[in-house]
């Protein structure tokens, strides 16, 4: 193969969000006419890097050289006009408009008088769809399409823009195998036309099947970039996850008792299928998996925020049905949600109000909320969790992220639950608070609570969990014991890779 011309170079890109170092001097080079895989764990910085490229984020430092010139794109439009087009993970579509209108959104063909030329738009769309052998009527509305077809429309839109660089952020996550095949054919033919494609994916068979080069990121750092022939699957997985497991995760041994919560065959069509596991007293059960594996959805179903299509939940030997979170809380199951600003704490209320919210009845005496009881409980938890607030009446919005998370946890502890579900309990909080929360989780297990923890952080999963349930695209692909689990093993299950030669497409 002759050496190819570099079309894009990103040099030493540095990006910080509110103290989080998302990209630390990352470099990335893309050649003309290649498919370049960009891989890494959740939060490795893949999407962030690409969003810097298309002008959605402005980096703190670094340089982008495109076709020989240093560029600084300020908007998606500018980037697109320059020939770079990104297909976002979250679909950016106008659901009340037709397929054709979405494909041409922002660059509609016009008639002489400047009106939208629907005839041309529809015939052009039909032609592009046929060229890519995609069976979608350009006149149908986006809202009536399946998620997979919506994804295909996204891809069609990018392709139809005649971009030189197309960035695909996990384009196949919602597609069926046949649709994936079509997409791969499209990718290959685009490549043969001399276009460059950045392909963000977790699926090894796609990476090894269609990509020419691979760049690996981990924790916002550049790890390695090489031709795909120079790397094999186990090596790739190792590079993605390899890291020092620090001593930050002190799970103390706890007495593990009888099964408290058991779920059997939980299914919500389109989200997850046949999810079964059990949770014991004194145990921390980790749920690992990649973004979109359905972890949050499963616990939301347990809590009653989502209605199950099938399956049962058994609490202490009795089948239960939670219709709304209130039912679950009454039965002693409580969730600290992933997005603490949206579901975890009420930012405009005080620390006290937040802590007491789930069990305000405890402060009632003679039909009246007693100030002294409020104070007793608030002080107890502020002390226990070392919440750094000037007083119980400080507004939560003014606390640091870590302290907000502690307030969220204090709230659920105050409700005296038997089963505690923590969804990403330490995402985006500082190291000190993180270890406080880990210590607390250990203590809770030690007191005989059953803890279910979702985490995307490999070290946290490995450090804290007694057992680990791994989800891949809505299926349980493995349940590992603490002593048998390591990051390679978990990653293999999480990406649905089940051994040499034998691949699980999921």
């Amino acid at each position: 193969m002759m050496p190819r011309e570099t079309v894009l170079e990103m040099k030493d890109i540095d990006m910080r969000f509110m103290g989080v170092h998302a990209l630390d001097g990352v470099s990335f080079a893309l050649n003309r006419g290649e498919v370049h895989a960009l891989v890494g764990e959740n939060g490795a910085g893949k999407s962030t890097l690409m969003k810097v490229l298309v002008g959605l984020y402005t980096p703190n430092a670094g340089e982008i050289v495109y076709k020989g010139n240093t560029v600084e794109f300020k908007s998606v439009r500018e980037t697109r006009d320059a020939g770079i087009c990104m297909i976002f993970q979250e679909f950016n579509q106008v659901k009340h408009m037709t397929v054709a209108e979405n494909i041409f959104l922002g660059r509609e063909p016009k008639t002489k008088s400047g009106s939208v030329d629907f005839k041309t738009m529809i015939s052009e769309s039909r032609k592009i769809l046929e060229d890519m052998s995609i069976d979608i009527d350009p006149k149908s509305y986006i809202r009536d399409l399946t998620v997979a077809k919506q994804q295909l429309v996204e891809i069609v839109r990018a392709v139809s823009q005649n971009a030189d660089i197309i960035i695909m952020d996990e384009p196949t996550s919602a597609l069926s195998n046949i649709e994936i095949e079509h997409l791969m054919e499209t990718v290959t033919s685009l490549k043969n036309e001399g276009k460059s494609i950045v392909f963000i994916s977790h699926k090894l068979e796609e990476i090894f099947g269609v990509c020419d080069r691979v760049t690996i990121l981990r924790d916002g750092h550049f790890i390695r970039s090489c031709p795909i022939e120079d790397i094999d699957e186990p090596e790739l997985i190792r590079l993605m996850v390899n890291r020092e497991i620090s001593e930050m995760f002190p799970k103390q041994p706890a007495h593990i008792g009888e099964v408290v919560l058991e779920v059997k065959g939980l299914t919500i069509d389109g989200l997850f299928k046949d999810v079964s596991f059990s949770l014991k007293k004194g145990e921390i059960l980790g749920i690992a998996g990649l973004m979109g594996a359905g972890r949050t959805e499963v616990v939301e179903a347990i809590m009653g925020s989502r209605a199950l299509d099938d399956g049962e939940i058994i609490l202490k030997g009795r089948k239960i049905l939670n219709r709304r979170p209130k039912d679950a809380i009454k039965r002693g199951i409580i969730l600290v949600p992933e997005d603490r600003k949206r579901h975890g704490v009420i930012l405009k209320l005080s620390v006290k109000d937040n802590i007491l919210m789930s069990a305000l009845k405890k402060c009632l005496k003679g039909g009246r909320i007693r100030k002294n009881l409020e104070k007793t409980f608030t002080d107890e938890y502020m002390e226990k969790l070392q919440i750094k607030a000037s007083s119980g009446s400080q507004v939560c919005g003014n606390l640091s992220g870590g302290n907000q998370q502690k307030v969220a946890i204090a709230r659920i502890l105050n409700a005296d639950p038997d089963v505690i579900i923590l969804d990403e309990p330490t995402r985006g909080i500082d190291v000190k608070t993180k270890s406080d929360i880990h210590r607390l989780m250990s203590q809770l297990a030690g007191q005989g609570k059953a803890v279910l923890m979702i985490s995307s952080e490999m070290a946290e999963v490995l450090g804290m969990s007694d057992r680990i349930v791994v989800l891949h695209e809505g299926h349980v692909t493995g349940i590992l014991d603490r002593d048998k689990a390591d990051s390679n093993e978990i990653m293999k299950y999480a990406i649905g890779y089940t051994g040499e030669g034998e691949k699980n497409n999921g």
């Binding site: 679909f91 950016n92 106008v94 009340h96 408009m97 209108e101 009106s115 939208v116």
Partner: protein, 333 residues
């Protein structure tokens, strides 16, 4: 025939029925109201009464189309009523031959009325788009400001003494027999133009896109701020036209003109099926909505319903329309 197929067919046709009833529910409701009023009152189903309704609907109908466009974009305008007063009074002062008026040529009066609307719409739009402030708040503020300006300009008194050339548009008809009033023709023209804009012009399509998914519109390279400003500017112009038309029909412009019109206009759009969550609605359905509100007002007058009860009926109709919208939105999810 296989039982399961039969039952599936049945459930399919039931679903179709349900779909149609929510799609055309408002139209069916409208037809039922018309049938009821035709039998219940001797005068409702006469040509003259229908033309009276249309004449009354013309001004508020233009405002309905204007605000409906904003609701499709995910915005709102609460200053409509005050804008009626302000635009009516600026136009009135220009052409009035009374001592407070300037007595200038009639076309200039129309131009100034519309220009006032355009200016206020532009200001509303620029503050909403650039300041990223909710339209509800901004237009609530301009509601007070416009009303205040109207009171100051008119010294708190109605402006009158309009030349016949000015009142011609609101009162006269295209033919001698008074069959087709000019105001209805103006309304019809606005509707046809706006239908074209919303369906065929990039501005209209972008208004739908912004209302349906603003992030997507932005990511597609649409200047969403500019779209918002343009939409408010257009809305303001339409309000200016509606206000001058109303002043022309009433032969005066009082500072209290148009009080509560924002609610009638918004109600018309909602009853016509414009979704409050944005992205859905057509101009012709807004016409239907405005006419339904007009017919109900008229019908209750003919039936001699007390004013107090009218309000309850209007409220119930809005609730009914929103429930239908909910059902539609649920299906679109």
């Amino acid at each position: 025939m296989d039982e399961s197929i039969k039952s599936r067919r049945l459930s399919l046709s039931l679903r179709t029925l349900k779909r149609y009833s929510s799609e055309y529910g408002i139209f069916i409701g409208f037809v039922l109201i018309v049938i009821f009023l035709s039998f219940a009152t001797p005068t409702f189903a006469t040509y003259w009464n229908l033309i009276t309704i249309l004449r009354q609907v013309a001004s508020i109908g233009i405002a309905t189309v204007a605000v409906g466009m904003l609701i499709i974009m995910g915005c709102i305008d609460l200053s409509i009523g005050s804008m009626f007063a302000l635009c009516g009074i600026t136009a009135g002062l220009i052409i009035s031959t009374g001592k407070e008026g300037f007595g200038l040529p009639v076309p200039l009066g129309y131009a100034v009325g519309i220009a006032t609307g355009v200016l206020f719409g532009f200001l509303n739009g620029i503050i909403i788009a650039k300041g990223k402030i909710p339209a509800f708040i901004v237009t609530m503020a301009s509601m007070w400001i416009a009303r205040g300006l109207a009171l100051i300009l008119a010294h708190g008194m109605p402006v009158g003494s309009f030349p016949d050339a000015f009142t011609y548009l609101g009162t006269a008809s295209i033919d001698k027999a008074n069959i087709l009033p000019w105001s209805v023709i103006v309304y019809l023209l606005v509707v046809i133009v706006m239908d074209f804009v919303m369906k065929k012009r990039p501005l209209g399509r972008y208004i739908y896109a912004v209302g349906s998914n603003e992030d997507a519109a932005l990511a597609a390279g649409i200047n969403t701020q500019a779209i918002k400003v343009k939409a408010y500017l257009l809305e303001g112009g339409l309000l200016g036209l509606a206000a001058t038309l109303l002043a022309s029909r009433l032969k005066s412009a009082a500072p209290a003109l148009g009080q509560g019109y924002e609610l009638d206009a918004i109600a018309g759009a909602i009853v016509g099926g414009v979704s409050f969550s944005g992205g859905i609605g057509t101009v012709w359905s807004m016409v239907l909505g405005a006419i339904i509100i007009g017919v109900i007002n008229n019908g209750m007058d003919l039936l001699g319903v007390e004013a107090f009860y009218k309000q309850i009926v209007k409220g119930l109709i809005i609730l009914f329309a929103v429930l239908l919208d909910r059902q539609r939105a649920g299906r679109a999810e």
